[in-house]
Symmetry: C2
């Protein structure tokens, strides 16, 4: 325990077949009625700020917990807990660049799943490796922030192809960056025609209601 949040040191997986582990975890969560969202992005795209806004919008309608994966530090889990009051734990990956299903399970073993509707996993900030490992989540989502540029779907094809939701964050700074939203949407749909794109500003809260609606709908479908 540091600053009131639990810090879990994640160990390297011993299982060779991650897809099998992921399918088993997903089936188990389905049975328990727990929707696991795997949220990915570059470092500094605003995952934590977005989560705080989102959780505060939905926490009266669904019971939610957050797992914050980081190589080091527990700043994110502390922030989430302080700003939302919901259960939040920190997963330390000890240098590892992604989480797989077994590592996700190690985190979930420290979350009281009974009675929960939603667990959000904030994956390691990285557009490359996390895309290669199924965590067992119900859905993959990612945040791309305006300062990163609209060409990212061209450069990180796998990440954009596996995410069915792409949140475009930091819309408030659009005037100061050379970011073409239409082109960005076009590139995203080149990678995944089914992807939902939701522009938001986590700082002001703009667009987060649409994101909340998307997620509540997902959870409802998952429980049916």
């Amino acid at each position: 325990m540091e600053d009131g949040v639990k810090v879990i040191e994640i160990k390297k997986s011993i299982f060779e077949d991650n897809e099998k582990e992921a399918d088993a975890l997903r089936a188990e969560l389905k049975r328990k009625g727990v929707y696991l969202l795997n949220l990915m992005s570059s470092p500094g795209s605003g995952k934590t700020t977005t989560l705080i806004r989102l959780v505060n919008l939905i926490k009266d309608q669904v019971r939610v917990a957050v797992m914050e994966a980081d190589i080091d530090s527990d700043v994110d889990a502390v922030k989430i807990k302080e700003a939302t009051g919901i259960p939040s734990i920190q997963l330390h990956t000890g240098g590892m660049c992604h989480l797989d299903a077994e590592m996700t399970r190690q985190g979930l073993d420290n979350v009281a799943l009974d009675g929960l509707d939603l667990v959000i996993l904030e994956n390691v900030g990285n557009l490359v490796c996390p895309a290669e490992f199924d965590t067992g989540s119900a859905q993959n989502a990612m945040i791309l922030s305006v300062p990163e540029g609209h060409d990212k779907p061209l450069k990180y094809p796998l990440m954009f192809s596996i995410c069915n939701l792409v949140v475009i964050n930091k819309m408030d700074v659009m005037p100061y960056f050379d970011f073409d939203l239409d082109k960005c949407k076009e590139y995203i749909h080149m990678r995944n025609p089914k992807a939902t794109v939701i522009p938001i500003c986590a700082k002001t809260g703009e667009g987060v209601d649409e994101l909340a609606q998307w997620l509540l709908n997902e959870i409802k479908n998952w429980k049916n």
Copy 2:
């Protein structure tokens, strides 16, 4: 050849001892008087824009080539070539999240090293994995951009500990972000007390002269 730049498909290394390979490559480059700079950052921090500014400032004083590593696409190599006129090649990593020494050598095999003073390797946009692999470069450098936040040295300790130069880019948007430059420097020096920190704005060119001076000095020392 696509759009006039050479695209090299990098193969996975067959060597087990990357440190040995890296030392051998470094010694070879030292003999040839070629300074290799390994430039790393998150996706979208402005590596390519910074390189264009930097190369245009120094290309009359040193002979320089650029290798752009990317999982896919050749947009960066094309941009560099068009904006600077210097030799620029694209390395495709085929999904791999980093370059090691042998992969760097595969790229260098496609660069005419004779008569060159400087090769800049733009590594894959990723703050995690590239930090773990010595490329054989004379120096590791990284760019952190203001929108990513000043807490990144806390979250990506290895990257900040192996870089002796940290460029802080996008200084022009400081007023729109909650970024504390003094705190950032403090965190960087926690990871590496020797690190030089240079704030710049690649878009306007502010601070790039200091970066050029740092690099010209490095090359001079390397050749002695």
